[in-house]
Symmetry: C2
Subunit: 278 residues, 2 copies
């Protein structure tokens, strides 16, 4: 197998593959020569290539772990070099644009099956990679209608082998779901931070773990999040708009001082939170 | 010293006092007999009393750690039994109502100095108490204009002895600050949970650590939060209202697809989050 882009996700895929025997050989290409040199020193990496075309040549499976905006350009570049029967997947945080884009490529032959492991961190880079990053975490697999069933089955088995819990949805369904459970929470964390950054600068030092946890994801890399938001703009806009209605309900409860209704909402929120997977 | 109500905060105060030599003797009263029995078995507790009046009789310092709504009733009850020169503080999450309420008591003689250690958890009860709960965490001390300077000094030294970082503000300033850095984040976490609880129940299982961290505080006890919100209604309403303006700005950026502005906000949010105390 081959990993294109060996950052936090790519390197974790490589580590997990080796740790769990999911691949005989792990090859790597990464854009930066310093990352390639770093990969070359890792025991989970069998070979490093100077170009993505060379890296994929002999591989049954290619996992593109680059930032969202580079996935289709990389896919386009490697298509002519792919081994017959080779399958390509990715780890991008949005799926409609990527999966529909891959489908539109000439000679695509249905070899692209999108993936999105729900794992990561506000940290980036190979040095934060972990073999157990995907363990017990959900992983979306997002075939289009024309996807090859055997390829979908192989990709599902691959993520399972890495310890993830696969969930198969359409690319569009995926984008609606993550707009709600990932992208909206990110914008709330960010907007809370930008809001508080306009207040007395001494206030931040008085905060406790509650504010820190609530805003942890706002420390994420803005370039990565720009691409995520840009490629899922409409779903995020819709989710935020509906959330604003919910938030306005809270404002009304405060204005009315309706504490019975407030307790009802606090309890409802607690039930949902207590029900999240551990 | 004496602790009234030995839940998470009260028991942690007791543990920290003994661990750090901040009190010679730690006495306890708690409303439930089962909690009193549990306190009696703790090595940080020197004696347990059946009534708050008896518990405080010989004490130089009384720390009321009950839910917010019980603080003034308890203060009123113990006032006649207090030793001359004895000081009373609390650990309530809102301060104006409590501190102004204490001030209004006959015979109050300025012995009440409000406190609010910014520590805690979505968990409650003595079994989650920790001697290091306050360590390196901020602690508000909120004297009114008429407070005795010596008493303020003593309460400040007390929290310092427990490892906290004291911050002296007026009760009203305190309530404005925590409305922003604690109560607003709580309502955002809760409203995100109530919003998502109305969506497809399968979505929750697909979430990752981002949603979990963002919503952790929504698992808090609704009775505790009812009292907090009820006693700081106006400041929370104002903070939420201003936050809604900020959130609407994000909605506009999404509608316009203005990714340059989005990156500006993502960067601004990251700077604030990276600047929070560790």
């Amino acid at each position: 197998m081959c990993i294109l882009a060996a950052g936090l996700i790519g390197a974790s895929v490589g580590m997990a593959c080796k740790a769990r025997g999911a691949a005989r050989k792990v090859f790597v290409w990464s854009r930066r020569s310093s990352t390639r040199a770093e990969a070359d020193r890792q025991n989970w990496c069998d070979a490093v290539y100077a170009t993505p075309e060379e890296a994929v040549e002999s591989c049954d499976l290619v996992v593109i772990c680059s930032p969202v905006e580079n996935i289709i350009p990389l896919y386009r570049a490697i298509l002519p070099s792919l081994k017959p029967g080779g399958i390509v997947t990715d780890a991008g945080s949005t799926k409609s644009r990527i999966c529909r884009g891959a489908e539109a490529e000439v000679n695509s032959r249905g070899v692209f099956i999108g993936s999105h492991p729900m794992a990561g961190s506000e940290k980036t880079g190979m040095k934060h990679a972990r073999a157990d990053l995907f363990w017990n975490n959900p992983c979306f697999i997002t075939p289009t209608e024309n996807a090859d069933h055997g390829a979908v089955e192989k990709i599902t088995r691959f993520w399972k082998a890495l310890g993830a819990v696969p969930a198969v949805t359409s690319p569009e369904e995926h984008d609606e779901i993550v707009a709600h459970i990932s992208h909206l929470p990110h914008l709330l964390a960010t907007s809370l931070c930008t809001f508080l950054s306009g207040k007395d600068p001494h206030w931040a030092a008085l905060s406790s773990s509650g504010l820190k946890d609530t805003t942890r994801i706002a420390a994420g890399d803005s370039a990565i999040w720009k691409s995520i938001i840009e490629t899922n703009l409409e779903e995020i806009r819709r989710a935020l708009s509906r959330y604003q209605v919910e938030l306005q309900r809270f404002q009304e409860i405060l204005t009315e001082g309706d504490m019975e209704e407030m307790v009802h909402f606090l309890d409802k929120g607690k039930v949902f939170r207590d029900g999240l997977p551990r």
